[in-house]
Subunit: 332 residues, 2 copies
């Protein structure tokens, strides 16, 4: 142990005293998103879950957990089989549909019956068909351990849940920075200007995201709150469910943020449980937007409008070219 | 269920028949990275783990699993307490150090003793101090359930493991595309060229990554293999451990890829277990690099050298400005 100087926590404490704060700490652990499904009394039953984890190779076991209060609890605790579908980055809609409480949710997604009749999601980047191997107590959840009988892997990247929001995986900057030093592409003594344009795009995007993130924290408003304000600026009133769909955050995160914004007097809620911005909320949304625009202007200060226009045009042509190419590749 | 047309899996089968293929399917589930640590016979003991999962809010429980063959198995299976440190995106070095088998690994990282003396990592984005609540059998692993006594949350984004490599979380493109349509920043009828430059950077980077990924798959070479070839082009010979550090992939993924490259005759291994490229390996590395360069040239074909230079220069100035700003913010 060295002499450690510690950062100040945003929140800390006894998890039993403030479950919401505890959930925010747990949300720092990023995860993929799965749909876990079974057949119960002849009908498909499924949930969106991020509590999945691999457990053992020999025998091949995986685990996940389900809340005792889940409406699918009875089905899964009695199930002889279940399937795990690991969702790809283009499957937010599947995640959102399966996490809804609608009775007919399987009618809206593509699936096929796997071993034991458990529905397996089409378009997943991996699927695991399991028999129930063990069930353990776990407080307000139970732990379900499955023995994997069949696995399939497909191309594609993972959909993520991280800090309450949907996300995608990107290469680590440390690898990018090192790969940029490859002598095959990089003469010694070169500057940033000698890097491949794709590497510059990567670095520009990542550094700019980090800067925006620092800036947003200074606004003393959470990412979820700012996304809700932005959604309600585009259109209002909106139901809770529409907001959840538009901000790409988990329902619990949205509920917490709606509560906070109501408390700050930024929202109004009509008789049909639909939300709109109060006058204070409109002012806050406008102020955030103006600050961000100002901030973006500052970042490019000192670069002539003409050169910025050229850059914008080159990037737009690049994006259009890539989009055409993707369409051609998909058709091939 | 609709009439489902299914993609062809890259791999599929009985997990018991081919554990490596099974592990690749499991690797499609992206996760954060944690260090889990305890005190055993007066000394700190810890491992890097991605099997962490939240379990219950009331009581506050989390779980993770450890291999029976782990050298830390005895310590954790007997431990009254353990800590979980969820690593931030700038903590690859902590992850790599704690996953090594070195005796003195705690001397090289910053930590402090938490409840029960369990080491807690400085710089983590969340920490959980636990007492052991339950232990369950889990094939070649055991499941450890901890009751969380104290949690702390810090600013920062999560380090990821996904498909065998370290990564970072990025915003989901679906959100970005929708947010770009915000009337506050976007007049109706506008084109790509009217978007904020930061949104163009995001779109250009993401579309270009996806295009490169499709291209690499056509080369019939895995990401790990191509990174190993690239590392050995920069410098050789390299030990297995140096390769693991340079390619930012998990040790198991690297071992699998080294085996595949040896089998393809691309690598030579000297008496000290250090790897270098064979003639075939050098040719393969050169061919991949040339194809990627050719590919990058094609993506920007039809745009004048002068305009590309301007773009490169604007991006470099933008990146330099952001780097200065980050340094100032850190100092403040």
């Amino acid at each position: 142990m060295k002499n450690v100087s510690l950062a100040t926590p945003i929140e800390e404490g006894d998890p039993a005293a403030d479950p919401k704060a505890f959930r925010r700490s747990l949300g720092q652990f990023a995860t993929g998103v799965t749909v876990i499904a079974t057949r119960h009394e002849g009908r498909p039953v499924g949930v969106t879950a991020n509590s999945f984890s691999s457990l053992s190779l020999d025998p091949p076991l995986v685990l996940w957990s389900i809340a005792r209060t889940s409406r699918s609890f009875a089905a899964f605790s009695a199930a002889s089989h279940f399937s795990v579908s690991i969702l790809g980055e283009d499957q937010i809609d599947v995640s959102q549909k399966l996490s809804s409480s609608r009775e007919d949710k399987f009618a809206e997604v593509d699936w096929y019956p796997g071993i034991g009749g458990s529905p397996v999601m089409a378009g997943a980047i991996a699927t695991l068909e399991c028999s129930t191997f063990a069930v353990h107590e776990g407080g307000d959840h139970i732990i379900l351990v499955g023995r994997v009988l069949q696995h399939r892997r497909y191309p594609g990247k993972a959909l993520l849940y991280a800090q309450g929001q949907y996300g995608v995986v990107d290469e680590h900057p440390a690898f990018r920075a090192q790969a940029a030093a490859d002598p095959g592409t990089a003469p010694p003594g070169r500057t940033l200007r000698d890097l491949p344009l794709t590497t510059l795009l990567y670095l520009a995007h990542h550094n700019s995201s980090a800067a925006f993130e620092r800036h947003r924290r200074e606004e003393n408003i959470s990412l979820t709150q700012s996304r809700i304000l932005s959604a309600l600026t585009r259109r209002s009133p909106l139901s809770r469910q529409s907001i959840v769909r538009q901000v790409y955050m988990t329902p619990q995160t949205v509920d917490d943020a709606l509560g906070e914004l109501l408390q700050r007097g930024c929202l109004e809620c009509d008789g049909d449980d639909r939300f709109s911005l109060s006058e204070a909320g409109q002012m806050l949304a406008r102020s955030i937007r103006m600050r961000l625009q100002e901030y973006e202007r500052e970042q490019f200060a000192g670069i002539s409008a003409e050169r910025l226009d050229t850059t914008r045009d080159v990037l737009a042509r690049f994006i259009e070219g890539l989009a055409e190419q993707a369409a051609t590749d998909d058709a091939a």
